[in-house]
């Protein structure tokens, strides 16, 4: 019963954040970068629910508009990592011993590097921006998907139903497409729903370091960073984007685990 309330609340939060990402105009009035120097650093009030920042911009509006780039980074990085990881995993599992060795050693090298360092390296080379943040995060999350897909594929390849399909006379390619891949994919989707949250935090961290979308674009990690210097006088500038990140990740995790239980 308690679990159901939790899942319900998490789904509601996710729905709200998705709405903010798709149609921010429905939730708030003005544009996110409308500055009002006279109303700078005001605390939460009826006019400004989450207060205003040093430039007098409405924090609530910016949090709402920040949903899109923040979610995009998390989802984009995960989607890219799943695609690349699946391809690598299949290649390793089905491509013969040499290919397996090469792919898996590469995967281990990437996994051995400290994640943040790797991301910093990528962005140093490619320059800051949302797309590059996505690339950086996908690069270091893809290896774990590759491992999972490889392990799943190797198990499924020996499953009774694959042998049954072989004795029926189906071709190898058809068996992989119809039986191996879909069955390997199910646990992958569960992992991915949970990892979206982690990717989202990673993207916010990179933005916090100034490597993501550049100001004045509203993005939760960057807003957190902007509020850092005012924390003692205007806590709301940093707290509300922080709460948005936490709530989103928490909701994604709760819903992801719920899906995991439903599937297994």
């Amino acid at each position: 019963m308690r679990a159901r309330v939790g899942v319900g609340a998490a789904s509601a939060v996710l729905a709200l954040i998705t709405l903010a990402a798709l149609a921010p105009g429905l939730l708030t009035g003005g544009p996110p970068d409308q500055a009002d120097a006279l109303a700078a650093l005001e605390g939460p009030s009826a006019a400004h629910w989450f207060g205003t920042d040093a430039n007098g911009r409405d924090v609530f509006t910016r949090v709402v508009y920040g949903a899109a780039p923040s979610l995009l980074a998390g989802l984009g990085a995960t989607a890219l990592a799943v695609t690349v990881g699946t391809a690598l995993g299949l290649l390793a599992a089905l491509g013969g011993r040499v290919l397996d060795e090469v792919v898996m050693r590469l995967v281990e090298v990437v996994l051995a590097l400290p994640t943040l360092l790797l991301a910093l390296l990528v962005i140093t080379v490619t320059g800051p921006g949302t797309v590059n943040v996505i690339l950086a995060i996908a690069l270091y999350t893809a290896p774990s998907y590759a491992r999972l897909v490889r392990a799943q594929t190797m198990v499924i390849r020996r499953a009774g139903y694959v042998e049954a399909a072989t004795s029926l006379g189906l071709s190898q390619g058809r068996i992989i497409l119809r039986h191996v891949l879909p069955n390997a994919f199910e646990p992958l989707l569960v992992l991915a729903t949970i990892e979206v949250g982690i990717a989202l935090v990673a993207a916010a961290s990179l933005s916090y370091l100034g490597l993501g979308p550049q100001p004045p674009a509203p993005e939760w990690g960057a807003m957190l960073s902007g509020g850092r210097d005012y924390f003692s006088v205007a806590w709301w500038i940093a707290i509300f984007p922080g709460v948005a990140i936490t709530l989103t990740v928490l909701s994604i995790t709760v819903v992801g685990r719920h899906l995991q239980r439903r599937i297994s």
């Binding site: 139903y161 072989t166 029926l168 006379g169 071709s171 190898q172």
Partner: protein
Amino acid sequence: MSVPVVEVADLHVSFGPVAAVRGVSLAVHPGECVALVGESGSGKSVTARTLLGLTGEQAEVSATRLRIEGLDASGFSERQWRSVRGRRIGFVLQDALVSLDSLRPVGKEIAETLRLHRAVPRDAVRGRVLELLTEVGVPEPERRARQYPHELSGGLRQRALIASAIACHPRLLIADEPTTALDVTVQAQILRLLGERKRAGTALLLISHDLAVVAELADRILVMKDGVVVESGPAQRVLREPEHPYTRGLLAAIPTAAAKGARLSDPAAPPLRRAPAGEVVIEARDLARSFRGHRAVDGVSFELRAGETLGIVGESGSGKTTTARLVLGLLAPDRGSVAIDGQPWAGLTPRRRRELRRHIQVVYQDPLSSFDPRFTVRRILAEALDVGGRPRGEAVRLLEQVGLDAGVLDRRPLRLSGGQRQRVAIARALAPRPRVIVCDEPVSALDVSIQAQVLDLLAELQAELGVAYLFISHHLGVVQHVSDRVLVMKDGRVVESGDVHQVLTAPTAAYTRELLAAVPQLDTTASLVRRAS
């Protein structure tokens, strides 16, 4: 008469709205064996678990009387139950690989029971473990005690489990399907071991779906169906003059030589007329295959003709399944050749191989694992019909052929019963119109009455379609019932082959005789003689 070790009257157990046991009464006296016989879902295991306080929190248990060694157990706390389990009542389960802790040597497992109940002084535990292993017939007990469950054979694992169950000299031993996963010769050894415990004065509650197995040991038999005891009485009376139609059906469903040609699920129906054997569809010549130096199959040759059934009998590790995989072209032989319809597997292009596969299909022991879990019955059959170049709409006709209706089309295999699953597997095998179907232990996972229906179905399909079967089983009775000819395999070699009647009634090889002697007999006079000797 002595005080019963365990006594229960009017037992009811329900899980929510499901009444699993309804009004069961039984008593087991010292030195007596009572057998609970029934099929899956009959409530026999739940009844046994109640006697150990193991029904779980969701269960609602009520009984007018529940006494263990004269003590009223109806109000036992969990702590009191713990003192009963292992010390007063020992429990032996079906699959020792699951029941034994896989991360501990078996010696430690047995020692734990002794320590828990302080059965012997601490410094004597080790000696007692070795004593127990010797008692249950484990050779080299010192070495075996240090081994892990996966390092032991099925028979040794089951012995270790029994050793741990009798460690504290319980007055009652409950054995739930103790031999179901075992080969027939190993089964005979385990039954003999349980018989020894009985003669030593231990009360025995034996649970099984197989009347033939309990015939060896039981003094009294209770037949359960849907949570109710439908018949009970002295073993000989129940086996020889069954009163309840359900018991009679169970007995008739047991495949034996006498029932050959008859329909097991409906003894009154006229026997099937068999078509004469046709041309050769499988020709296997001098097959050999090794795995890491171990010869799994060595010099196996045979022929199978259209409309005919060739049985392959042998125990686990005899090379039956490897032979099947060689015949199916899923494995390449080190030596020898297999030809399907005159076409050898060797030297075919992948495309020609795939085309040839249509002619030889397979039905596995565990149908569930042979279906893609995401597929519905409709998709499973569609895939097979596509291969055979038949329209997908014929799925309904296929289902009718195997005795199912279109209602199952949109269900996934997980939502089907064991018998229904095996019928779908047979329908899938029939879809490409094969010449041969390899049946690898197709009824071993099924209850006796479902087994009878599936065997009847296979016989009907053969009479109708003229399909040939390569029928693999460890169950001699089943092979005897379905086969025209038989190969007896041991350690990868064929030790005897020929007409099924000839081989199984007048065997020439010592191993065949050994196998036959180990088969539990329903004929109670034979069992009685054996029990006396």
